[in-house]
Each structure stands twice: as structure tokens, then as C-alpha cells.
């Protein structure tokens, strides 16, 4: 199983055409701008919408866009525009928290396995092998079906599915760093194992993690929405893009687009923001390496 790398297809090294930093910079700026706008929309959601995210308008179920409801209302009579905005809080929040948790846990495990080696390494890597014997979405599906939905369970689910990939990444990095002379030097000058891990190995092994993490955030959002779409995510009236799309499924067959298209577009734009940011960072890292 030596060749299973990062579980996301995004982790393919990209050799770009343009080698100067300008292209990378513009990717980072555009991606960053999208994410800033999304974050602002999430924070200011109550100010930007007339209706509450779960407020029911008894006179207007499935009202078409325009008029009382900017983007129409859904089958429950809730305002689609307001829900799309408020959902950004849940979606961005869970994705970013989950990836942060995965990075922390994965990095720690990778450090331990890579530096200590021996049985610690064996045990940890066998566990990672088991986790990586599944397509990531299937694993997320199984874990969330067993753990149950809700905000924190979803954070844990998505973090658990991603942590092994970081562990593997950091472990590989640490194993090359371990042989460097400055580590040898630190050891002979009496630095403790913990000191070496914390001061030398940790900062240096984080380089690839910094590039992968934003891409991973986008993937986490897609996973979260997918789980909610299948009914395994947040509890039902909560505004979340995946569950909004799910609620709109029956409308689609009837040709009503406004209940499911807007939340999907919002999701697409946010994931695109993370992808652009990640791609820009990767491009910059590649350019530096040359």
C-alpha cells in the first residue's frame, strides 16, 4: 500500500505553465477575495436578509424569486436568500474547524511516528493503512452514520477522515528531516527529544501541510454538504447548503430551480475560493523549489 498518497485527488503535483510569481499571486488574491466575501456574508447574514433563516412565511411556500422573497421561498415557506447566507456560517465553520483539527491531530501523530520509529511507527501506520483502505467519502459516510449528525460530530467525522493523510505526509517529511545534520547537531548539543520535535521537526515538516490544507477545506465543504444531502448532516431546519439542496430535490423534477440552485452555487463559489487559494500556494511552492 506504499503508493496511496493523500486521499484527495487534489494532491497531484501541478506543474504549471507560468513560472513567475505573478500568476500564483493572482490566484491567491482571487481565491482569498472570494473567501473574504463569503466570510463577510456569513458574519453579516442577519443584516443582509429580511427574514430569519428558519422563519416561516405562511402565505408564501414555493414563492418564485422576486417580490417578498429575493430568491423565492422553499417548500416550508422559508426564505432562500436568508438561508443561503446563514448556511455559510455552518458550512465554512465546520469545514475550517474540521481541517484545523485534522492538521493538529495528523501532524502530532506523523511527528511521533516519523521521529520515534519502531513500534510506535508500526502501530500508527497500520491504523493509517486501515483508514486509507477506503475512499474518503465512503469513510466519512460510515463514520457520520455511526456517530450521528450535529455540528461537533460533523467536525469530528471530517477531521477523523482527513487526519491520516496528514499523518502520512508529516511522517514522510520528518523521516527525511531526521537524517539532516542539524538534527544530529542538536542531539549532540544535548537537546531533548521533545525539544527537537517541537523546535526543529515541527516547523520544517509543516511546509507541505500549508499547501494541502486550503484544498482540503474545499473538499471538507463538499463532504459536509454531501453528508447533509443524504440526511446525515445537520438537523433538518438548520440552514446548511447540502440539506437545502436536498430539500429542493423534488422541486427540480417539477422545474422549480430556486430552492436548490442558489445553495449549490454558493457552495461551488466557496469551494472554488479554496481551490484557487490552494492552487496559488502550490504554484508558489513549486516555483520556489526550482
Amino acid at each position: 500500500m506504499a503508493d496511496i498518497q493523500m486521499a484527495q485527488p487534489d494532491a497531484v503535483p501541478v506543474v504549471s505553465g507560468t513560472r513567475d510569481g505573478r500568476f500564483a499571486k493572482s490566484l491567491i488574491y482571487v481565491g482569498g477575495a472570494i473567501l473574504v466575501v463569503a466570510a463577510l456574508a456569513a458574519i453579516l447574514a442577519p443584516l443582509l436578509s429580511k427574514w430569519g433563516p428558519t422563519e416561516i412565511d405562511p402565505s408564501g411556500t414555493l414563492a418564485a424569486p422576486g417580490g417578498e422573497h429575493l430568491l423565492g421561498s422553499d417548500g416550508n415557506g422559508m426564505d432562500v436568500w436568508s438561508r443561503v447566507l446563514h448556511a455559510a456560517r455552518i458550512d465554512l465553520g465546520i469545514a475550517v474547524l474540521a481541517v484545523a483539527l485534522a492538521v493538529v491531530v495528523g501532524t502530532l501523530l506523523g511527528l511521533l511516528a516519523g521521529y520515534l520509529g519502531g513500534w510506535v511507527d508500526d502501530v500508527l501506520m497500520r491504523i493509517v493503512d486501515i483508514f486509507q483502505a477506503f475512499p474518503t467519502f465512503i469513510l466519512a459516510l460510515a463514520v457520520s452514520a455511526l456517530l450521528g449528525g450535529g455540528f461537533f460530530n460533523l467536525v469530528i467525522t471530517i477531521a477523523a477522515v482527513n487526519a491520516p493523510a496528514y499523518a502520512r505526509l508529516v511522517r514522510a517529511e520528518v523521516r527525511t528531516l531526521r537524517e539532516m545534520q542539524y538534527i544530529e547537531a542538536a542531539k549532540t548539543s544535548g537537546a531533548s527529544t521533545l525539544g527537537i520535535m517541537w523546535r526543529h521537526l515541527l516547523p520544517n515538516s509543516l511546509t507541505p501541510v500549508r499547501v494541502i490544507a486550503p484544498l482540503n477545506c474545499g473538499w471538507a465543504m463538499l463532504t459536509l454538504a454531501g453528508l447533509s444531502f443524504l440526511g446525515l448532516g445537520v438537523t433538518v431546519p438548520t440552514a446548511e447548503w447540502g440539506s437545502m439542496i436536498s430539500l429542493g430535490t423534488s422541486d427540480v423534477v417539477a422545474g422549480r430551480w430556486w430552492t436548490s440552485v442558489p445553495p449549490g452555487l454558493a457552495l461551488l463559489v466557496c469551494v472554488l475560493g479554496f481551490s484557487l487559494l490552494g492552487e496559488g500556494l502550490q504554484e508558489r511552492a513549486d516555483a520556489k523549489r526550482r
Partner: protein, 336 residues
């Protein structure tokens, strides 16, 4: 011979991983909350009814006994009895694998062919308009929620244009198709059932298109990246400087060298596609493996969960093994 030894060694390495999967799913599904018996009995069942049902499915036994029974069954290919349906899990699974494999295999094949063609095309025009278009498309493909894309395609292809059938099934029941493999298009072709062929094909278009767009992006990016690497290599520059004809350059140098990284990526993408089909089957009411496994998970149908998780893990690690063998076969530099 060397390949056989390599495959043998890798299969041996798989045993601990799969055993780990077996033990973990067996324990987790039982330890975590949720009761499979309550979900089949309905609200008015008494405790005695529940007890009787537990005995029927062997759930009254101590957990080590249950585990040994399960392992004993696995050796003979018996995955037990579904608690929800009361039918043999092995039989149910056989019915569900066909429709899913049909979707995944067709979509991944189309995606690989398209990726090779478009990726090389794009790399040869690096940093020109065509290349930028392809790259932007790949970025979108990477970022799009597939289940939502499926809905948008239904909205356009069925609700607005009416070109494709409603997303409710895999073939028109009026065609009286005899099920053989479960993959309807294959069944229709085998039995020579004309109307069923066109109906099954029409039902396949939208789900396959959804899946293709989803899996194409990572493949495309990888092919483009490897093709660029080849184009910038000294070997290629030397060959071009010698004045070799364009066709030889393209076929002998560029295409083959570009394919080197493809097998392992295709394996990865195959896994991604397996994951995505759970969502896509849901969108298109495609009664396949994903829908079956999802129901099993939701109702805590222990034997179904155990079987589907194990089969997916097995398929996934097996496909990586195949990818490594294909890689070694394509690339003479790889020693296995």
C-alpha cells in the same frame, strides 16, 4: 514470474489491513448507538418480540461468539442475513453491484480517455487561450458538488428540455428486460432487447455525465502536468531537434511517457467515483450498491454494513494493486 511474486507479496500485505477492517467494522457498528432490531419491529412491539428477533439473528450470543460465526461465514463467502429484508446479504449484494459498476466503469473509462486527449492537447498549448480554458474547466470540475450538478442536469435535461427520462430508475419497465448481471445496458445487449438498449442508454446519460465531470478534473490536471514535464525534458527536446515527424513525437514520446502516472491516479479516481456514486445514485434513484449500503448504515443492519464496508475496502485496495502492476508494465524503469 516476478510480477506474480510481487502480486503474491502484496496480497499477503493486504491480509492484516482487511482483517483490521473486519474487526473494526464489526466492533464499531455494535458499540455505537442504534439498534437494528427496534427499526424492524415497529413501535408496538413488546420486549419479548424484540428478544425473539434477537435470537433469530443471533444477536443474543456473546460478542466473541458472534464474531467467530461472522468470520466462519466470511471464509465460505456467506455474509449473513440482512436484518431489514431477511434475505441473504451475499445475494442482495450481487444484485446491487451490477448497476453501480455499470455507472462507475463507463464514467471512469470516458473520463480517462477524455483526460488523456484533452490533457495532452492543453499541455501542447501551454499558457494559450485553449489551455487556460481547460485549466479553468478543471478548477470548476474540482470544486463542483456532484450531487448538485446532477440536479442541475436533471433541471436542464429533463425538466426544461425533456431530452432525457425522469430520474427514477435505470430502464423503462415496459421493455420487459430480463435481469442477468444487474447492469441493465449489458443485460439488454446480451438478450438483444432493442427497446431496452435504448431505454437503458438514455437513463445512463445524465448520471454518467455527472460522474464524468466530477472525476475528469483531477485526471486532466495530472495528465497535463506530466505532459508538460515530458515536453520540457531533454529527451523530448533532443528528439524534436532531430526532426522526428510530429506523429512519432506525439505517439512515441509524448503519449506513452505521459501515461506513466495515470494508473495510480486512475485507481484513486475509481475510489472517488465509488464514493460519489452514493450521492449520484441517490439523486437519480439508481438502485445500486451505494443506496443499499446507505440504507444498511442508516438502519444499523449489521450484516449489510459489515459486508458493504469490507467489499469497498477490498475493491479499493485491489484496484491499487492492479494500478501498480499496470504501472510496472507500462514503465520499464519500474522494478517490482
Amino acid at each position: 514470474m516476478r510480477i506474480l511474486r510481487f502480486v503474491g507479496r502484496r496480497l499477503l500485505q493486504l491480509i492484516p489491513v482487511l482483517l483490521g477492517v473486519v474487526v473494526l467494522t464489526f466492533l464499531l457498528v455494535r458499540v455505537l448507538p442504534g439498534d437494528p432490531i427496534r427499526s424492524i419491529l415497529g413501535p408496538n412491539a413488546t420486549e419479548a418480540d424484540a428478544e425473539a428477533a434477537r435470537v433469530r439473528f443471533g444477536l443474543d450470543q456473546p460478542i466473541w461468539k458472534q464474531f467467530l460465526d461472522y468470520l466462519g461465514g466470511l471464509v465460505t463467502g456467506d455474509f449473513g442475513t440482512s436484518i431489514q429484508s431477511g434475505a441473504s446479504v451475499t445475494g442482495e449484494m450481487a444484485l446491487r453491484l451490477g448497476p453501480t459498476l455499470e455507472l462507475v466503469v463507463i464514467a471512469v473509462t470516458i473520463a480517462i480517455v477524455l483526460a488523456i486527449w484533452l490533457g495532452i492537447w492543453s499541455a501542447r498549448r501551454a499558457d494559450r487561450a485553449g489551455d487556460h480554458t481547460v485549466r479553468i474547466f478543471a478548477l470548476f470540475g474540482n470544486s463542483i458538488p456532484e450531487f448538485w450538478l446532477g440536479l442541475v442536469l436533471i433541471l436542464v435535461g429533463y425538466a426544461a428540455l425533456g431530452w432525457f427520462p425522469a430520474p427514477s430508475g435505470r430502464v423503462d419497465p415496459d421493455t420487459n428486460l430480463t435481469p442477468l448481471t444487474g447492469a441493465d445496458l449489458v443485460d439488454a445487449l446480451i438478450t438483444g432487447n432493442g427497446p431496452a438498449i435504448s431505454s437503458a442508454a438514455a437513463h445512463l446519460v445524465l448520471p454518467v455525465l455527472t460522474l464524468v465531470i466530477g472525476v475528469l478534473a483531477p485526471l486532466l490536471r495530472s495528465v497535463r502536468a506530466s505532459a508538460l514535464e515530458v515536453l520540457r525534458s531533454e529527451a523530448y527536446a533532443a528528439a524534436a531537434a532531430h526532426g522526428l515527424p510530429e506523429r512519432t513525437l506525439l505517439r512515441g514520446y509524448l503519449r506513452r511517457a505521459t501515461l506513466v502516472r495515470l494508473p495510480s491516479l486512475a485507481a484513486l479516481v475509481f475510489g472517488t467515483a465509488l464514493g460519489s456514486t452514493v450521492l449520484i445514485e441517490y439523486v437519480y434513484s439508481w438502485q445500486g450498491f451505494g443506496q443499499w449500503a446507505l440504507r444498511g448504515l442508516l438502519y444499523r443492519d449489521y450484516p449489510v454494513v459489515q459486508a458493504s464496508v469490507l467489499i469497498i475496502a477490498f475493491a479499493y485496495v485491489l484496484i491499487f494493486l492492479i494500478a501498480d502492476v499496470v504501472h510496472a508494465w507500462l514503465d520499464p524503469r519500474v522494478k517490482i
